[in-house]
Amino acid sequence: MRRSKTGDWAAWAFLAPVTLYLAAFYAYPLYRNVELSLRNYTVRSFVQGGAPFAGLDNYRKILSDPTFGPALLHTVVFTGASLAFQFGIGLALAVFFHQHFPLSRTLRALFLVPWLLPLIVSASTWSWMLNSDAGVVNAALGAVGVGPVNWLTSPDWSLVSVIIANIWIGIPFNLVVLYSGLQAIPTTMYEAASLDGATGWQRFWRITFPLLRPVSAITLLLGLIYTLKVFDIIWIMTRGGPTDSSTTFATWSYRLGFGNLLPSFGPGAAVGNLLIVMALVFGLVYIRLQRRQRA
């Protein structure tokens, strides 16, 4: 049904609040952020204005910063490892729960808990569990004869620690989305395969896996966009340390802008803008993929 011109006006009247909101509280902060990254701000000029235009100086500064290489590597490792395990475990659990046994609904609902908890709650709980001296994880490792690991205080383990916590938080999302993807696969397919004598393993690789591919792609891409943004868990558990060993772009940006007594807003905003470019590239891939599936 084609609408008249007046119909459009009425529709945009309903959309006006959200449009103004997007302009004022999305576009403008983003614009300020770009502006921050292109000027040479001091605390004084941050408050009073009048910071000199610096072009791409801030970007040059962060590219040659010794933190840049490690932060990039950690961002890639953190994102890649988190995604691989969240997805793998989430898929295994989804297939498991798809078998419908007594209590399966209730147990599946309980699996949502880690995802719903405030991140500061999860992060502080993991901090205490991974404590070198009094943590329950080291106690459990000790019981099977493995020496204590300095999870949060050793540069070799800090990134692993935050990845473990992040995997734990991300499993529920993967489980729920993949489970709903499984439900969309017609049961007649499985019945036909059973009649043909297919084993459980064959059913998974020949039916479940290929038919789940579109949902899997979407899950992974959304997971990627979410994981690039992760800040709370790392900052609360390790503050990106010790000595940058768990610093990602997100925590680096925060530390530059807010983590020191003397903030460097320009470079902080520049790191943030690099992060946004990464997120948007994958975001556009996601939208493309989703559109194609809907068509």
């Binding site: 046994f101 808990v113 502080s124």
Partner: protein
């Protein structure tokens, strides 16, 4: 028999997954002197309520602020998102597609970047450390999601229902208010639930925009507990338990809305 085995396996997996949650509760009841026991006590034998007493003494104002911020965010989000969802789903104006696209993109912007932009703006406006400022910032997490949920849901409302209202002489505003909104109850619950939960859990906006305020949310309450190098882990974990209460209530009361929200946008229906 295999069904029973599966249930057993399911219970074991769930117990393993939820162990950190159990551990948080366990530690919240543990006495200070048992905190560094080796091996750690698996059950709070000789448990204490000291941690919860500390919550009552010190954290109530923080909880109050979080509640206020959460409710404010819900109100703002639904007010902005519901009419937009209606317009995009049912009135489908020229340019609506572009707006939907912008909303999708908006959801992907990392919080730290928004926080830095907001900080610069709030500093100049002098609204740092204020509750309305925090509500406004927190709502940016939920508004794009809200519009997308409302659009998806309201597309499913039958045209006949709205045409009947038009025949009765109702204008678009009237149709929206007395036909569309009442039948959209489920989506209103889903959006409110997530808006509340995200605002309640927000740490990044709170720490950047409200770090020096008189009224701070519970996430900052916990953060300061940890930051002060406080060794009272029972108090920290007790606060964490209390801060998890809203999530638990929502899960128990509104599980199907939660699942709906998680999958929305990720899976075509």
């Amino acid at each position: 028999m295999t069904r029973l085995l599966r249930t057993v396996a399911g219970v074991v997996l769930t117990a393993f997954m939820l162990f950190p949650v159990y551990w948080m509760i366990n530690v919240s009841f543990t006495r200070d002197r048992d905190m560094r026991a080796d091996p750690p006590h698996l059950f709070p034998v000789n448990g204490t309520l000291e941690g919860y007493r500390a919550v009552l003494d010190q954290q109530l104002p923080y909880l109050g602020t979080s509640l206020l911020v959460g409710l404010g965010t819900v109100a703002l989000t639904v007010t902005l998102a519901a009419p937009a969802g209606y317009a995009l789903a049912k009135l489908r104006p020229v340019g609506g597609g572009v707006l939907s696209f912008v909303l999708l993109i908006a959801q992907m912007i990392p919080g730290i970047i928004m926080a830095m932009g907001f900080y610069a703006i709030y500093l100049n406006l002098g609204v740092l450390n204020s509750i309305p400022g925090l509500i406004l910032a927190d709502s940016t997490i939920a508004v794009p999601f809200g519009v997308l949920i409302f659009t998806a849901f309201m597309s499913g409302i039958p045209e006949e229902l709205m045409q009947a209202a038009v025949v009765d002489g109702a204008g678009r505003l009237r149709t929206f208010w007395s036909v569309v909104l009442p039948v959209s109850r489920n989506s209103i619950v889903t959006v409110s639930l997530f808006a509340f939960l995200w605002a309640w859990s927000d740490f990044i906006f709170a720490s950047t925009l409200d770090g020096g305020g008189d009224h701070q949310p519970i996430t900052l309450g916990i953060y300061q507990y940890i930051g002060n190098n406080n060794q009272q882990w029972n108090a920290i974990m007790a606060t964490a338990v209390v801060a998890s209460v809203p999530a638990t209530i929502l899960l128990v009361l509104a599980q199907r809305y939660v699942a709906a929200g998680v999958t929305a946008g990720a899976v075509k229906d």
